[in-house]
């Protein structure tokens, strides 16, 4: 798509894009290029000399059981966050689309967690589940469940999943609600006249119409779980216990900043970049398709 009417100036357009481009180059392209460059190098323990080692950092990475474990944990974490978040939001949005009374109030009361920073959301839930003072910990103890996420890996995972889903529900909810409201009423009425009950109508008429958009949300939620949940992990479990919640992004930070392993951390950055690029391409192909309908 192009504009038919344009202005002419030899210098003005360059001046207008310059600020955006300058920041992009200094803070995005240059660091990304450096990450790629460092990933082919090995630095000695004192940071005095560096040596070009080709793909050795990558080979070490994929032979490192800790890294492979972190990969598996990230996969599990992002699938749990995306699937639970989408299922709960779809249920709530379907119900909110049905009710006439109080629809706006429900909406307002469900969207505010979007504004809560992931790290703050994590602290809220970590307090409820705190091993000694947590109120949910206390309730669980009453029914015979010993809860201590500081020691139990699967409980730590449950905590970060709950906090991440809680924050993301409002986002998914708004998208589902917008789409549900755009489903033509005539389709639903036609199905109702043909004798289909509410459940049948949902699964045979509404859900197929939502399926492509659900896929879009799935990708967005995966990206969220991969990258934006850093704050959730750092504020609560810090990757522990014993690496049970160490997602890839947290490992890049940990290896680069805490362990000062520049080459290894940079190689991990490059792997992550490839993952984001893949996810973004999938997302945009989908958007393109939607536009051409």
């Amino acid at each position: 798509m192009e504009k038919r009417v344009v202005f002419r100036s030899a210098w003005l357009p360059y001046a207008l894009v310059a600020p955006q481009l300058a920041i992009t180059i200094v803070f995005f392209f240059w660091p990304a290029f450096q990450a790629a460059w460092f990933s082919f190098q090995l630095q000695d323990a004192f940071g005095l000399k560096t040596e070009f080692v080709g793909l050795r950092n990558f080979a070490e990475l994929f032979n490192d059981p800790h890294y492979l474990k972190s990969f598996k944990i990230t996969a599990l974490f992002s699938v749990l966050v995306a699937v639970i978040g989408i299922a709960v939001s779809l249920l709530l949005a379907t119900m909110a689309d049905r009710v006439l009374r109080g629809a706006l109030a429900y909406k307002t009361l469900l969207i505010w967690p979007y504004a809560v920073a992931p790290a703050v959301a994590a602290v809220l839930w970590a307090f409820l589940f705190a091993p000694s003072v947590g109120i949910i910990t206390f309730a669980l103890k009453q029914i015979g469940v010993e809860w201590n996420y500081v020691l139990q890996g699967d409980q730590a995972m449950a905590l970060v999943v709950i906090a991440s889903v809680w924050k993301q529900i409002s986002y998914n909810f708004l998208f589902f609600l917008a789409w549900l409201q755009s489903v033509p009423k005539s389709l639903i009425e036609a199905a109702a006249i043909d004798g289909a009950g509410p459940m049948r109508r949902f699964w045979t008429v509404v859900f197929p119409l939502l399926a492509p958009t659900t896929f879009f949300l799935l990708v967005v939620n995966m990206v969220y779980a991969f990258f934006e949940t850093f704050g959730v992990i750092d504020a609560t479990t810090q990757g522990g216990p014993a690496g049970a919640t160490q997602i890839l992004v947290y490992k890049v930070y940990h290896d680069g900043f805490k362990s000062q392993d520049l080459g290894g951390s940079s190689a991990q950055s490059v792997v992550l970049m490839i993952i984001v690029i893949a996810l973004t391409v999938i997302q945009f192909r989908f958007v393109e398709r939607k536009v051409h309908y």
Binding site: L12, V88, L92, M95, P131, V133, F230, A235, F257, V276
Partner: protein, 282 residues
């Protein structure tokens, strides 16, 4: 509503109320904890109704901070968060709107190349280039400064896209008329395009304000000076490790303070927020 099914309506309300309660529960408990003393909280289970220490706890964190963890006053941190959120929101909008204006309303060599460069930044979140970006900031000497907190986060592919999409829908006749009347491009931009873009600007502002306020990884990396902490970082620094040692009543008061401004923005500017959210993802 296609048909009247009282039981289903009842069920819908029940599910929604359960959802609202589940979503609000952590916030309520956080608020209650922020009005108690530490002794009340460690006496498990803690009371479920607010206590009388609201002013005490809030004024302590706002002016003095916690005792064991980070000692910086939260008032200062909130000011830092506010600066960060406002500069990022306005900065992103400003540099993106002029860049899209250039890309849509001018033909010049490298136009498409520039557009793709901006597009690719979508695929390079801070999280994947942590260390080199930190190095750049440290080489430029902007650690522990407002410039360092905001400038690296100001480039925005989503805002540039949104304005580009919007400018495409602006009728060509307007630009034509401006040209016939002899208006300069900047004159057209200021007098015609900016007023037309008000809605998009408001919607983007809400989204970017929340984005800026809630930043975590970047401020964590570049602020080592307590007076430069943002509210979100401050909370993390107050949790001293080991939940028996944490001053939960103060942490919870800080959490309420840290989430209130963006939550208010979402609730009060709900219309713009929904519009911004749905449109920036297109």
């Amino acid at each position: 509503m296609v048909e009247n099914r009282p039981w289903l309506t009842f069920f819908s309300h029940a599910v929604l109320i359960a959802g609202v309660v589940a979503v609000a529960f952590p916030l309520y408990i956080t608020f209650v904890a922020s009005t108690l003393t530490l002794e009340d909280i460690v006496k498990v289970p803690m009371p479920l109704v607010p206590g009388p220490h609201f002013w005490e706890n809030y004024s302590q964190v706002l002016t003095a901070g916690s005792e064991r963890g980070a000692a910086a006053p939260v008032g200062r941190m909130m000011f830092n968060s506010l600066v960060m959120a406002l500069v990022i929101a306005f900065g992103k909008i400003a540099i993106s709107i002029i860049a899209s204006f250039a890309i849509v309303y001018f033909r010049f060599p490298l136009r498409n190349f520039f557009f793709w460069m901006i597009f690719i930044t979508l695929m390079l979140p801070v999280e994947v280039r942590i260390i080199p970006t930190f190095k750049v900031a440290s080489d430029l000497g902007i650690l522990n400064s407002y410039v360092g907190l905001t400038l690296p986060l100001i480039a925005s592919a989503t805002a540039t896209f949104l304005f580009r999409q919007f400018f495409m829908t602006v009728p060509d006749e307007l630009a034509e008329a401006a040209r016939v009347d002899g208006a300069s491009p900047m004159r057209f931009f200021v007098d015609v395009l900016l007023p037309l873009s008000k809605t998009s600007i408001a919607a983007l502002f809400v989204i970017q304000f929340i984005y800026g306020w809630n930043q975590y990884l970047w401020p964590l990396l570049i602020t080592t000076d307590e007076s430069m902490y943002t509210a979100v970082i401050g909370i993390k620094r107050m949790i001293t490790g080991g939940d028996a040692l944490t001053e939960w009543h103060l942490v919870m008061a800080t959490a309420i303070l840290a989430l209130l401004p963006p939550a208010l923005v979402v609730v009060l500017m709900q219309k713009w927020f929904v519009k911004g959210l749905v449109e920036t993802e297109k």
